[in-house]
Symmetry: C2
Subunit: 289 residues, 2 copies
DNA sequence: ACCTGAACACCGTTCAAGT
DNA sequence: ACCTGAACACCGTTCAAGT
């Protein structure tokens, strides 16, 4: 049974690119990258493949649009590209408007980001104002941590996102999602007092770390989920840690020594420690105040 | 024409897991991840799919084996797991021996790594000896740069590697390739004088950055290659840079300001600058000597 | 302008059968 | 023990045809 319309499909509101992207994100979240299929999509949207191809060029473009929508939503709480925040969805990029905000958010495991909101760059202080409900700390460091955690959480909620951002980062994504991330991270770098000649290098380094670490974490989480439906994150780390402890002592002395730290570590904490490490490197090479 | 045996296939030496992995790497290098097909594999090896499935469980395992082989080769010049370097290929891991060295190396663009070889950790100084033909510098920093460049080059030569390492990093890879990288990077971290309690965090941060940055770079290089068969890397950066310069000034002031640096930058140099940034952060938080 | 759905070429994987 | 190759279920994409 349940062959059709798991979703009570009114199917009044005509097909649109937005609806297709929304459905694609839902499928990706539910079943990973292999879950996004034109067959599954047509069933969920109650159409034929031709209808989808009328709105979307191919699967790659659809993946790109889904990626952009989720990243935009993740950075929306941030002061990134939101000088005109109240309006529904102004066309942010130059070419093909990128689907507005993200659907399928659903506030996952109840706790969500935490800090967020926070700092605008000092020299443009008038714009941000005191609108934050929470603490709204001020330092650029806090701003960077907030952006980093925003992406970290988005990738954890949408594990397929890591692969897209890291390695599918096609031409079109370079022109839509890369600027979003660069802008959010870079404003804080600028606020930190980094000299302009180092902006690109510092921002790139941070972005690479953030995507790398968040991606790895999401993969581990996904692996853990696959092993057993629940309980399992600790079990996964425990298994990996045990395997490391059994490596050849001559070939892998360091890895064996570090196996215990693998077992005990908290992903989120470790992630932020890495961010702070890079921030320490950046501030250490800052010109004298 | 040319339907069969593009490769003059003697086909005497029986099929083996090694030959299959070797052929898989060749296909991946030649045509990317989508180029690895059981059909293409059977043609190149002059067999049927059943023969391959007798040696290999499925495509995922084959990808994992290819990944492990290439990473092992990339780190082989390093002092990682090579206490017994002359011997052909001792079984390094505990389970399923990992294919020995990498085939398909072919010394790409004639120049290759550069530094490499270099330092063993000080407290085991006797083992390394003065065997290096080149400069063989000594500092742990140089060691880390060498490991980082080794992986950077491997990913550039095998662009499919990034995606495997970043997001396909399945259970089995955690137990074969992750320790290789951890060991190579971690020994230098230890030699740097980082306190043991921070080994895991520091090594992880570096590894995430290395994989993230190298992966991004490989993707860009691949995108550039797709646009035009040659010339193109500069053209690709130029196009992206121009697109960034045309972003909305209100929404993307930082990204616009940094577009010029995107155009001019050298991937390799930028990559090493990021490594040094993290090293600066690590040494900055070192306990007083 | 927008949608339908059969059809095409291709994919990973299986398996009865051979040697 | 190792290999063959037809067959199966599924995939992305196309396209003549409808409204």
């Amino acid at each position: 049974m349940a062959t059709r319309t798991r979703r009570s499909q009114r199917r009044t509101e005509a097909l649109s690119r937005e609806r297709i992207v929304e459905a694609a994100i839902e499928l990706l979240d539910a079943a990973g990258e292999s879950g996004l299929t034109f067959r599954a999509l047509t069933e969920r949207l109650a159409t034929g493949p031709g209808a989808i191809y009328w709105h979307v060029a191919n699967k790659g473009e659809l993946l790109g649009a889904a990626t952009d929508a989720v990243v935009a939503a993740a950075l929306a709480a941030e002061p990134a590209a939101s000088a005109k925040s109240p309006e529904p969805a102004g066309p942010a990029g130059p070419a093909e408007s990128p689907e507005a905000a993200g659907p399928a958010e659903s506030a996952g495991p109840a706790e969500a980001a935490g800090p967020a909101e926070s700092a605008e760059s000092p020299e443009a202080a008038g714009a941000a104002g005191a609108a934050g409900p929470a603490e709204s700390a001020g330092s650029p460091q806090d701003g960077i941590r907030a952006v980093a955690l925003g992406l970290f959480d988005a990738i954890e909620e949408h594990p397929w996102l890591a692969s897209q951002l890291m390695t599918q980062l096609s031409h079109s994504l370079w022109e839509t999602v890369a600027p979003r991330i660069f802008e959010s991270v870079g404003r804080q770098i600028r606020a930190l007092g980094v000299p302009e000649s180092s902006w690109f290098a510092a921002t790139s380094a941070l972005m690479h770390y953030i995507l790398g670490a968040a991606g790895q974490n999401a993969t581990n989480a996904a692996s853990a989920r696959t092993l057993g439906p629940e309980v399992d994150r600790a079990r996964f780390l425990d298994a990996a840690s045990t395997a490391w402890e059994q490596l050849d002592p001559d070939d892998y002395p360091f890895t064996r020594a570090v196996a215990g730290q693998l077992r005990g570590h908290d992903d989120r904490e470790q992630f932020l420690a890495g961010v702070d490490l890079i921030l320490a490197g950046i501030t250490a090479s800052l010109p004298a105040r």
